[in-house]
Symmetry: C2
Subunit: 373 residues, 2 copies
């Protein structure tokens, strides 16, 4: 499915569940030249997905099916996968569920479990309808493929090829490793958001007039479908519990740190400086954690180059400086002011992509500005 | 400062601290016709703010100053306000700090405390520089004005007029009430974000490849300046502690609910159904909490009208339906599919502003679609 070679023969693919994920997979595979057949318990979902170019609602000849993608809610997964293994005897079967161990356990005694390899694309939510389906939903996203002891190499290859055909970046992970990872980076953050949002139900309405963007960001995902999340958390409860217990220990430390920062010293006799330092360590750790998250869409964070210009000692000149930066035609990602305390001089620091830095430096020097080397 | 009357005489205003907040206030007041003088410990900050139209860096004649706005970091507030009360004998003095009680306590014995009324605009962060300052930063935002037992009515009126001149909506609140409110809707959410982000420092790097938008949203504010937040949380620690302890109790309930949802029943003998119901209640409470937050910029949430169209039983027709909706020239806020399980019929539900609903309904009927009454 990669470029440069003759195009591979089109596959006959069945997508079961024409929600956002299923319909988007249908659109991506159809665009890649494969034949997609759509099945949904709600015929109107399948028809809308069909009208959006996600495939056909006609049933396929069962023995021509190469791949079945099961994109139904978590509680229905095991039964639908089992049925697909029985119904399409030559097909690899995968699913797109958020938790992998329970489903595999339920399928473990199926004689054809070697044809099942679970997967998990990190995009969208399983519960929305097909109307917002997009062929590029998975482009540059991580798509976990989770083989197991009994899965066949060809099933693993087929599911990996599916993810690549959708433009995703394949990450192969063990089932237990996957479930622990999503507990940490998806299920725990969801429950933290729920905890904060739930707390607001006991807050006076007048207080909420003071809500800013920060509160909205922290609580946004708590508004997601509680039925879906009940299924997700229940099916990964052991891994989620381990994370929640670590958070509780950390919350206790934070309570102690805030308690100590009050009015210069805690009951245990620490000095105000020491306990404020404990709060500061918690806050610093939070900043560090935000840096640990890879950039948008999982790409490595971009490191910008800095062009630093001395701020002239006259208002009119500074206006011209901004104008000259604007006319340089360079996309400035960030602007900040730096200081030299000893010399009472200020510098304007312009963050640009590394390739734009030499051009902007030359442009500004040409116009007479003092650009730092 | 409200419309319809002759414009009031311009005020002479001093803004101390030319960061994002101070420089934005300077720009808004300058645009409203007032004379603004800028002071900053870092002269380059004041000069940049001046070049952006936030006022002049020339010192004003002290006895002409009508209002002083102190927009410096929390730990410097009390000393700078005290100095302003001494230096400008006829001026009302306000500040824009996030916590109000500690500053007032420090000023309580000042003979001129009647001229001080604290305030708190709900926008931006005090620690960023002036380069992103905007005259409209406060438009339609909440701006808390917090009078006290000794403040004069004219000082309260002057500070309220400041907020209105900046386009904000004034909310008058008692000092203690304000501090409790920001503990709930700002400081607690910040610490929850810090807790989650800090936890990521102990997560394997490979797991973070699975991070989605949800994790980024929950942890975004944890990346804010830890020095500023140490000052904010320390100065409001009693109120913050009360909230953290409530969250601690709620986290225990959540841990119990998740524990119970595992493998059909908890150690205490509850049935799987009961304990899963406990998890569901936590999730439902979270959804409810997100609905408690007023809409963007503090406005009441918009209620949309629904235009519901029967989905025709043919793929080509559905394509035409989408095209006709697109050509109606109406801004569709949301699209979803509804079902009639008994009749196997689907409906496309289009959410639009109430004023657009009659027009869209007529337009679709004109084109032959079956629109529900």
């Amino acid at each position: 499915v990669s470029g440069g070679e003759a195009p591979p023969a089109p596959w006959c693919v069945v997508v079961i569940g024409a929600g956002l994920i299923g319909a988007s997979i249908g659109r991506a595979l159809t665009e890649a030249g494969h034949r997609v057949h759509l099945v949904d318990a709600l015929p109107s979902h399948a028809r809308v997905a069909e009208s959006l170019g996600a495939g056909s609602t006609e049933p396929p000849p069962p023995d021509q099916v190469r791949l079945v993608v099961v994109a139904v809610p978590p509680r229905a997964l095991a039964a639908v996968i089992e049925d697909a293994l029985d119904r399409y005897p030559g097909a690899t079967v995968t699913d797109v569920g958020s938790v992998k161990a329970g489903v595999l356990e339920a399928l473990w005694r199926h004689p054809e479990v070697s044809r099942y390899v679970g997967s998990h694309p990190m995009a969208g939510s399983q519960h929305s309808g097909p109307v917002t389906a997009r062929a590029d939903l998975f482009v540059d996203r991580t798509w976990v493929v989770a083989p197991h002891r009994r899965s066949s190499p060809s099933a693993l290859a087929t599911v990996s090829a599916l993810a690549e055909a959708c433009g995703a970046r394949v990450v192969v992970m063990d089932v237990a490793e996957h479930d622990a990872a999503v507990a940490r980076v998806s299920h725990l953050p969801h429950l933290m958001s729920v905890l904060m949002a739930g707390h607001l139900t006991g807050v006076p309405a007048g207080d909420l007039l003071l809500a800013g963007q920060g509160l909205r960001d922290v609580t946004r995902i708590a508004g997601s479908d509680p039925d879906l999340w009940e299924q997700i958390v229940s099916s990964n409860s052991a891994a989620v519990l381990a994370e929640l217990r670590q958070i509780r220990a950390r919350l206790d430390s934070m309570i102690e740190a805030v308690d100590g920062s009050a009015n210069g010293g805690s009951a245990s006799g620490d000095s105000a400086g020491e306990v404020s330092a404990a709060l500061r360590r918690e806050l610093d750790r939070g900043v560090q954690g935000t840096h640990a998250i890879p950039g948008k869409h999982g790409a490595a964070p971009v490191t910008y180059a800095e062009v630093v210009v001395a701020i002239p000692d006259a208002p009119g000149a500074l206006g011209r400086l901004f104008a000259d930066v604007g006319e340089a035609g360079v996309n400035v990602e960030d602007v900040s002011i730096e200081h030299d305390r000893n010399r009472q001089v200020g510098y304007l620091s312009l963050a640009v992509t590394p390739d734009a830095e030499p051009g902007l430096t030359a442009w500004m020097r040409d116009r007479g500005w003092d650009v730092q080397a």
